[in-house]
């Protein structure tokens, strides 16, 4: 029962965080010194603009505006995008953009972890020796090049010079699995190289600390192979920081791939945000930020649940809290 109360407490904390974040964004939208109605309806008269302001709650105070937006948001109405020719719903755009971003993020994480975990384990095992030095130095170079630069270099070399991969756009699964992945390889590489460097370093440091523990010597004295000791005894207690960091970067990757999604025209959530800012679609911007905040909070919860699996001591500490 105490366990249930822990989770109730945790979830309500996260709900408070969500409310604060969305209210903050809502305030920012109100502070921006431009009249949304003028931007959205440049040729309309004042009565039409007043009607528009009233329709989205801009005639009310900051709190009234926020409550109206929140009411719509929880009912799935994320507002509209206004064009000179008409309107489209934000949710319609996000429904199209979200799977792309989720896939891009998943591939990036799987690839980054898939490369970083063996590299981190190897460089901790061979700490200070040649393999470790080569890995550390190479990753240091990768981590000092920003993702968009890697993206551009890839486009120039792989895309335009050799024409191995398409430089733009996105393909759905129905257009062919291989076609889909061909469009994903370069964005995933651009996003993951920095993450690989970060993850490898985190894991290496924690593994080196764990390798000094008595239980490693104990495992050796049982006659286990080094490989078994590394993976079965040392990796799990050393991976808490790595998985926490990976889960938290998920939230960032959903919306934070703004630059990469723009370079490769993936049209994911990041691109939508980019477009919303460029087109001054403030309602859309507000809703997109809220969705991303939702993801952040969700992955925070995943970290809480996951760390209990990785380290049983955390579970009991909670139960007795």
């Amino acid at each position: 029962m105490q366990k249930l109360s822990f989770w109730l407490q945790r979830v309500s904390q996260l709900l408070v965080v969500l409310l604060l974040v969305t209210f903050g964004v809502s305030l920012l939208i109100r502070i921006i010194p431009v009249d949304l109605a003028t931007i959205v309806m440049p040729v309309a008269d004042e009565t039409q603009r007043a009607a528009f302001r009233a329709s989205i709650g801009l005639d009310k105070g900051p709190i009234g505006y926020y409550l109206q937006w929140l009411g719509n948001f929880v009912h799935g109405d994320l507002g509209n995008i206004y064009y000179s020719g008409g309107t489209e719903t934000v949710s319609g755009h996000l429904i199209k953009a979200m799977p792309r971003s989720l896939l891009l993020m998943s591939y990036t994480q799987i690839f980054a972890l898939g490369v970083a975990i063996p590299l981190g384990v190897l460089s901790a095992y061979r700490a200070g020796r040649r393999a470790d030095r080569v890995i550390s130095n190479t990753l240091f170079i990768f981590s000092s090049i920003p993702g968009f630069a890697i993206g551009l270099i890839l486009i120039i070399i792989v895309g335009t010079k050799f024409e191995w991969l398409p430089t733009l756009g996105y393909a759905t699964f129905s257009e062919g699995i291989w076609e889909h992945f061909k469009h994903m390889i370069m964005p995933v590489l651009s996003l993951s190289l920095g993450l690989i460097a970060q993850y490898t370093r985190l894991l290496r440091a924690d593994m080196i600390a764990s390798l000094r523990e008595d239980y490693v010597t104990m495992a050796m004295s049982k006659g286990l192979s080094d490989r078994r000791i590394l993976w079965r005894h040392v990796f799990r207690p050393s991976s808490v920081t790595l998985f926490t960091s990976a889960a938290l970067s998920m939230g960032g990757l959903i919306g934070g791939a703004i630059v990469i999604e723009s370079i490769f025209a993936t049209y994911g959530v990041g691109f939508e945000i980019f477009a919303a800012i460029g087109g001054r679609q403030y309602i859309m911007l507000q809703s997109c930020v809220a969705v991303i905040a939702l993801f952040y909070v969700f992955f925070n919860l995943v970290v809480d649940i996951g760390s209990g699996f990785v380290d049983p001591r955390t579970r009991d500490r909670r139960a007795n809290a």
């Binding site: 008595d214 495992a219 050796m220 380290d311 001591r313």
Partner: protein, 325 residues
């Protein structure tokens, strides 16, 4: 009597930023089959390093070991790491000082206990689990089935030490290194664990190396004692003989520093003044000379060699106790 373990002229060096650290130097030690040998000395005297080096458990680019170690006919120092590993579990095993840090915090007791059985003895998963339960019962853990499913942090210190003993004896080793097995425990639990080790040793016909800083623990539990100081063996004798007729001033000082019940309350405890010599910069004379109450001119200048009495009592002193100056 044949030796189960024979360590000859073993020196262990650690490369440190302050220079080369000689943790163990020129140690010779014999563990006769079927006996229990105590290794005594204060913290930092090289007891633990000596045991781990003998088994080949010290790893890393900064450690170097010279000398020869022969166990049960196998020359460990001439074998590869993989070959030595074959001898672990059923040949040699070790129990550690602090069972909380020596058991993996995130793995269940059952997994940690059955692992050796499966890897070293090739048992199936279910056989290994059944055997694990028997082993827990052998070390007198009540409710063994529940303990198999527990994590180390859920058990008491004494229980954890019993679990560690169960892991060490799982594959029926010929030689058990017990590295301060009772130091982290309450006095009452200490006695229980020592009693358990004594019984297991008899039932399983194990030899044992019992490392401790407590001469009291050595007294009832060992056949021979080696006293270590500053990385060297300074006295070696059958246990009864050592207590009856010690030759090394350091051993005497160690014994005198044990508080006694018949001391009046408020009596100042006897301590050995001074500290161990800096292991990166050992003095040229006897390492104990600055702290020794029988010290002579010669002790500061020349390093004493090991002397052996006709009865086999070995010591490293220019002016041993009981000899006229």
């Amino acid at each position: 009597m044949s030796s189960l373990l024979s360590v000859k002229n073993m020196t262990v060096n650690f490369d440190t930023p302050r220079g080369s650290l000689e943790a163990v130097r020129n140690v010779d030690i014999e563990i006769p089959a079927g006996t229990s040998v105590g290794i005594v000395g204060e913290s930092g005297s090289g007891k633990t390093v000596m045991c781990r080096a003998a088994m080949g458990l010290l790893q890393g680019s900064t450690v170097s070991r010279t000398g020869t170690v022969v166990f049960d006919g196998h020359e460990l120092t001439a074998m590869t790491k993989e070959q030595v590993r074959e001898l672990f579990g059923s040949g040699m095993a070790m129990i550690f000082q602090d069972p909380l840090t020596a058991l993996n915090p995130v793995r269940r007791i059952g997994v940690q206990l059955s692992e050796g059985l499966r890897i070293r003895l090739g048992m199936s998963k279910s056989d290994a689990m059944a055997r694990s339960k028997e082993l827990l019962e052998l070390v007198r853990i009540p409710n063994a089935a529940a303990v198999l499913k527990s994590f180390p942090y859920q058990l008491s210190g004494g229980m954890r030490q019993r679990v560690m003993i169960a892991i060490a004896i799982a594959c029926n080793p010929k030689l058990l290194f017990a590295d301060e097995p009772t130091t982290a425990l309450d006095v009452t639990v200490q006695a229980q664990i020592l009693q358990l080790l004594r019984e297991l040793r008899e039932d399983l016909k194990m030899s044992m190396v019992l490392v401790t800083h407590d001469l009291g623990v050595v007294a009832g539990n060992t056949d021979y004692v080696a006293v270590m100081y500053a990385g060297e063996v300074v006295e070696y004798a059958p246990t009864a003989k050592l207590f009856a007729d010690m030759r090394m001033p350091y051993t005497e000082a160690l014994l005198n520093s044990i508080p006694r019940v018949d001391h009046k309350p408020g009596t100042a405890l006897t301590v050995i003044a001074g500290r161990l010599p800096d292991p990166t910069n050992r003095p040229s004379g006897c390492g104990f000379a600055p702290r020794c109450k029988y010290v002579q001119e010669k002790c500061h200048k020349e390093h004493p060699n090991l002397k052996t009495d006709p009865d086999g009592h070995v010591y490293r002193c220019w002016f041993p106790i009981g000899e006229a100056l």
